[in-house]
């Protein structure tokens, strides 16, 4: 950092110091937008048990960025193009008719491997500037421009509007595909649309956390929230809240340190997840004890 900042533990002072810098404001804005978008789409992804597809999409950003560097375009374009292309490829590999448990992941794995291979090709053709590689993979918040923030906000807004429109049929198809299909819901088409939206969210998130750590904002807040409550509205709200908190804390701490933002965002999100899981488990254990101590005598129960 330029002026060797350090945490003073005076929150107001630290916050105002952080906000002095325009790049930090941009980073926080971008981070907030991304937290919301990734949170909502990640929530659906966890519900649909499509975490592997989500991870594969996050890997698409690698050929996206290196391809963009190769043709001399901004990395963000490459991200968006490749993530959407990847989403379509995964969607295509799934809709062979047989949505079987062993078939689907294999197809997704092939898409991921192919995309990564392309990424390497681009990097090698580009001349492989490995310093950039680090930023690409692990994120940097130093270079987020005003334009980028606007684009991110626009993409997020558009995605959320589409999602709001599709919310009910998509939820139906995600929870009970067979019944929904019988009722006329276009389950497969919705699946592809969802993957495309997920791809957009991944592309957006990669710009803040870096390619490898997109999952931190995509999965962890959603998994934590879903472990806490089964009520849809509440767990969605929790997801977004956790995501925002994680991003602000993570970026804030990273400002004062030399380590990449992605690491802090990931660690905080993981810590939240662990705390939630442990808490739920402890609560479940105490409830089990309560139940057992009130048991009728041995010999079974007669209704």
């Amino acid at each position: 950092m330029s002026t060797n900042p350090h945490l003073t533990w005076n929150v107001v002072h630290d916050l105002s110091e952080v906000l002095e810098y325009h790049f930090m404001v941009n980073a926080l804005e971008a981070g907030s937008v991304v937290a919301v978008m990734a949170g909502v789409l990640g929530w659906l992804m966890v519900l649909r048990r499509e975490t592997f597809a989500g991870h594969t999409l996050s890997m698409m950003a690698f050929p996206g960025a290196s391809g963009a560097a190769l043709i001399g375009v901004g990395a963000a374009w490459g991200y968006f193009v490749f993530c959407v292309a990847g989403a379509l490829a995964i969607g295509r590999s799934a809709s062979g008719g047989r949505r079987s448990r062993s078939e689907q992941p294999a197809g997704t794995g092939a898409v991921q491997a192919g995309a990564l291979g392309l990424g390497f090709l681009f990097v090698s053709l580009y001349g492989g500037v490995l310093g950039d590689l680090e930023n690409l993979l692990f994120g940097t918040f130093l270079g987020i421009s005003d334009g980028q923030v606007l684009v991110l906000a626009g993409v997020a807004a558009a995605s959320l509007v589409v999602l709001a429109a599709l919310a009910r049929p998509l939820l139906f198809a995600s929870v009970d595909a067979d019944v929904a299909s019988a009722r006329g819901v276009p389950v497969r088409a919705l699946g592809v649309v969802f993957l495309v939206l997920l791809g957009l969210a991944v592309a957006a998130t990669s710009q803040v956390t870096g390619v490898l750590l997109v999952f931190a904002l995509l999965v962890m807040p959603a998994a934590s929230a879903q472990a806490l409550t089964a009520r849809v509205g509440l767990s969605l709200a929790l997801t977004v809240a956790i995501g925002l908190a994680v991003v602000w804390l993570g970026l804030g701490i990273a400002y004062f340190s030399t380590y990449p933002a992605g690491f802090f965002v990931t660690s905080i999100a993981f810590a939240v997840y662990v705390i939630v899981r442990v808490g739920v488990w402890v609560k479940g254990a105490s409830r089990r004890d309560q139940r057992l101590s009130g048991q009728p005598p041995a010999g079974g129960v007669i209704a």
Partner: protein, 275 residues
């Protein structure tokens, strides 16, 4: 081409690693555990980095990370109440796996930063080697070691193949007949970890998924017989290595990892058309 030593080393290591990937991969696809394979490939990188940062041989870290996480994933997974065969069900532990390995990747980031501050300039190359593999940079001893480990892993895999198949298809019946279903599950994913660590050194951590899943997936589409399928998966993987290495030799700007995985994925695509 064969007169060059680096090429011979690459072929030696690559052939046997591909053999192992094909055989193990057939079961990975059968059991729907491709995601686990993916997760392992992504912890190989931080494992290697952590070892390098601590000053130990990178490979020790690689193996330790993949085997430990592999055993953990296997332990998280199904017991005799097995999930094998349940229509459309994805085990909920996929989410847990995703979360754990992302955290480990985050640690990898940390180690990378640690590493780059302690040995400026070298870190980029380290990253490249672990992520992309360095099959053309293998020394003779390294290549032989890689081949031996791969052969041992393949042998072990073949020994457990039949009870593992039994446990994967009908876990309750297998358990009733004395097959150690849970132990096999854990051992299998740990073995996958070993193979992943091996493959990471040849095609690189990010690409090994292609070598493990694509030829096996193609084999599954082309035949339903287990014996033929396993053999075919191994064959296709080896073909991908040979083809890829030959291509990469002929076209210097083509990275070997890309060529190898490209052929493997192309094989899978062809199989989707054929079957």
């Amino acid at each position: 081409m064969f007169s060059q030593e680096f090429m011979r080393n690459a072929l030696l290591a690559g052939t046997f690693v591909a053999l192992a990937c094909g055989v193990v991969g057939w079961f990975v696809v059968l059991r729907g555990q491709v995601f686990a394979g993916d997760a392992l490939s992504h912890v190989a990188f931080p494992g290697a980095l952590a070892a390098a940062a601590a000053g130990i041989d990178e490979r020790a870290g690689l193996f330790a990370a993949t085997v430990a996480v592999g055993a953990g994933i296997g332990a998280l997974g199904r017991g005799a109440d097995g999930v094998a065969g349940r229509a459309g069900a994805v085990p909920a532990e996929d989410t847990a796996i995703g979360i754990v390995f992302t955290f480990i990747l985050g640690l990898g980031v940390f180690f990378l930063a640690l590493f780059s501050t302690s040995s400026a300039g070298g870190s980029g190359i380290q990253v490249a080697h672990t992520l992309f593999g360095s099959i053309f940079g293998l020394g003779a001893v390294q290549a032989r070691l890689a081949a031996v480990i791969a052969v041992l892993a393949t042998g072990l895999m073949l020994v457990i193949a039949r009870p593992l198949l039994f446990a994967s298809i009908v876990p309750d019946v297998a358990a009733a007949r004395g097959v150690p279903v849970r132990l096999l599950s854990i051992g299998f994913v740990a073995l996958l970890g070993v193979v992943a660590a091996e493959a990471a050194q040849t095609v690189g951590a990010l690409l090994l998924l292609g070598l493990v899943s694509a030829p096996a997936a193609a084999a599954h589409r082309l035949t339903s017989s287990p014996l033929v399928g396993i053999a075919l998966a191994a064959l296709l993987a080896v073909a991908a290595i040979w083809g890829g290495l030959a291509l990469a030799y002929a076209v210097p700007s083509l990275p070997p990892g890309t060529a190898i995985v490209g052929i493997a994925v192309a094989t899978y695509c062809v199989s989707t058309i054929l079957a």
